[in-house]
């Protein structure tokens, strides 16, 4: 099963007094795709937003429990360092509207004031866009604004932007929920490719998608981790009746 890259211990997340993630303990294996699936509002997104310390930015939001990135306590480290090591792609594509495609890819360096050589920059843009399977479509107009791309291309640009930072983990928060079926297929195909080099954590409410792309699946319901295991096992022989009901479409 390989080594564990991310581990949570009794992780709970709150919005004021409202607990949306309830004592979740789970370990994410390296260079695999792990999906977090569950009905809308079950706390999936909030859970992964605790991994890169984005949850705490919302006024009134609070986290309890612990998260470890390899052996490092995430909540005892500078959040800026953690966020550079755990990349994130959001539900809706959000390229920086004032920047070109080129600048969007290296935004993590530019905005952080990290200086790169000219050649180094070009190489990184090309490599990241290739990894995100976008290079062939945009290589001739890298100076155009990122927002001119289609939704699916924008989402892959956001993936390239996250990959450029060379993260240990890439969090994908329902990355295809705003995309059409064709663009969705491209992103899913990309996820397959990416797991060779990076650990992926994918949030989805789509059972079929979880089955298609992931090696491990966690089922979250009402903020609690109901079941977690290899995708095939969870899909074919769920241990918990709630998992089974969700998989067969009885709710969610």
């Amino acid at each position: 099963m390989g080594s564990k890259v991310l581990r949570t211990e009794n992780l709970s997340a709150y919005f004021r007094d409202n607990r949306v993630v309830n004592r979740v303990s789970l370990s994410i294996p390296e260079n695999m795709v792990t999906t977090i699936m569950g009905p809308s509002g079950c706390g999936k997104t909030t859970l992964i937003r605790c991994f890169n310390r984005i949850h705490e930015l919302i006024p009134g939001a609070r986290v309890e429990g612990r998260v470890f990135l390899r052996d490092e306590d995430v909540y005892a480290t500078d959040p800026m360092i953690i966020r550079r090591r755990i990349g994130m792609v959001f539900q809706r594509p959000n390229p920086f509207p004032t920047m070109s495609i080129y600048d969007n890819v290296i935004a993590g360096y530019r905005l952080n004031g990290i200086k790169l050589g000219h050649g180094e920059r070009d190489a990184m843009v090309e490599e990241s866009l290739k990894k995100a399977a976008l290079w062939d479509e945009v290589k001739d107009h890298l100076n155009r604004k990122g927002t001119f791309l289609s939704g699916g291309q924008q989402q892959r640009l956001c993936i390239a932007r996250a990959l450029a930072m060379n993260p240990d983990i890439l969090l994908l928060d329902e990355p295809t929920s705003a995309l059409d079926p064709k663009a969705t297929a491209r992103v899913e195909q990309l996820v397959e490719e990416l797991k060779k080099t990076v650990t992926l954590i994918l949030v989805t409410h789509n059972v079929a998608q979880a089955g298609r792309v992931s090696d491990f699946t966690a089922f979250l319901y009402l903020g609690e981790l109901i079941e977690y295991g290899p995708t095939e096992q969870l899909h074919t022989a769920p241990k918990d009746t709630r998992t089974e009901e969700f998989l067969t479409g009885k709710f969610g």
């Binding site: 959040p79 959000n94 530019r110």
Partner: protein, 282 residues
């Protein structure tokens, strides 16, 4: 029956459109009337000399308002220098912090300042600056105008930045970019067009202010670039010359009105163009 109903609807629709179109035209009428009147009366005095020469004594023909143009320019610069950074910073603060006591107080202060009559601001500047310095000056006039710019800039900055989706801020923070850099390098550039528009509109607003200048910048028949001396300004020229008994001076007041209106129109148009050109799509 059914056909009749449809006919009634079509007629109602037609009447509604007619009323709306007529009323919109009526709304333009005052502007067109004022503009054409000013141009008709002012155009004859608008010559190159009018823009580059100094005013002449009573009785002598000709002369211009170069000193007032320079003075207005000085006043706008003096007003903008503190008002833009202060206003933009306050706008950022308010857009970032919806609640909280300080933002409540700031918002209230901005609202009150926006509603304060310009003559009151002039009197305050007179009491605080002119009396202390012992003289009228461009500096005191500029500061009075700067206070008037402030609420416009704060409001437009706040409103512009509030329209920027949070997802953009999250995108930056998720790359490990510190908060202050996120504001300066992601949020501000995305709102720059709107902020510039606000600044230009606030300049247009103060360019025509007369009341606060009466006892601060005061007016000056000579050319000066010295900011601690009294300076002339276009609205002061209009006020002083239009209330004089000499017809030649009335002509100058019309000419100055023409220049001022042209300037304000140009500022507003530029603001529009910037808003359109720099519009950021999210």
């Amino acid at each position: 029956m059914n056909r009749e109903k449809t006919r009634m609807r079509v007629i109602k629709d037609w009447v509604f459109v007619a009323v709306v179109v007529t009323l919109s035209f009526l709304a333009i009428v005052p502007l067109v009337l004022i503009l054409s009147y000013i141009v008709k009366n002012g155009l004859s005095s608008l010559t190159w000399e009018f823009l580059v020469e100094l005013p002449r004594p009573v009785g002598e023909k000709g002369g211009g308002v170069a000193n007032a143009i320079v003075g207005s320019f000085l006043l706008v610069i003096i007003a903008s220098l503190p008002a833009i950074p202060l206003g933009v910073s306050a706008g950022i603060y308010l857009s970032e912090r919806e609640g909280g006591r300080l933002s409540f107080l700031t918002r209230l202060a901005v609202e009150v300042l926006h509603g304060t009559p310009s003559i009151v601001i002039g009197i305050i500047a007179y009491l605080w600056l002119v009396i202390r310095m012992g003289r009228f000056s461009a500096l005191s006039g500029g500061i009075a105008l700067g206070i008037m710019m402030l609420p416009v800039i704060v409001r437009t900055t706040e409103e512009t930045l509030k329209l920027i989706p949070d997802s953009l801020k999250e995108a930056s923070l998720a790359l490990g970019v510190p908060y202050h850099r996120t504001i300066l390098k992601v949020i501000l550039p995305a709102g720059l067009g709107g902020i510039m528009t606000g600044v230009l509109i606030s300049v247009a607003r103060i360019a025509g202010e007369t009341a606060p200048l009466l006892f601060t910048a005061f007016g000056n028949p000579f050319m000066t670039w010295n900011i601690i001396k009294p300076v002339n300004a276009l609205p002061l020229v209009i006020y002083n010359y239009a209330t004089s008994p000499y017809p030649e001076w009335h002509a100058i007041a019309w000419g100055a009105s023409c220049v001022l209106v042209g300037l304000v129109l140009a500022l507003n148009l530029t603001a529009r163009i910037i808003a359109r050109r720099w519009e950021v799509k999210f």
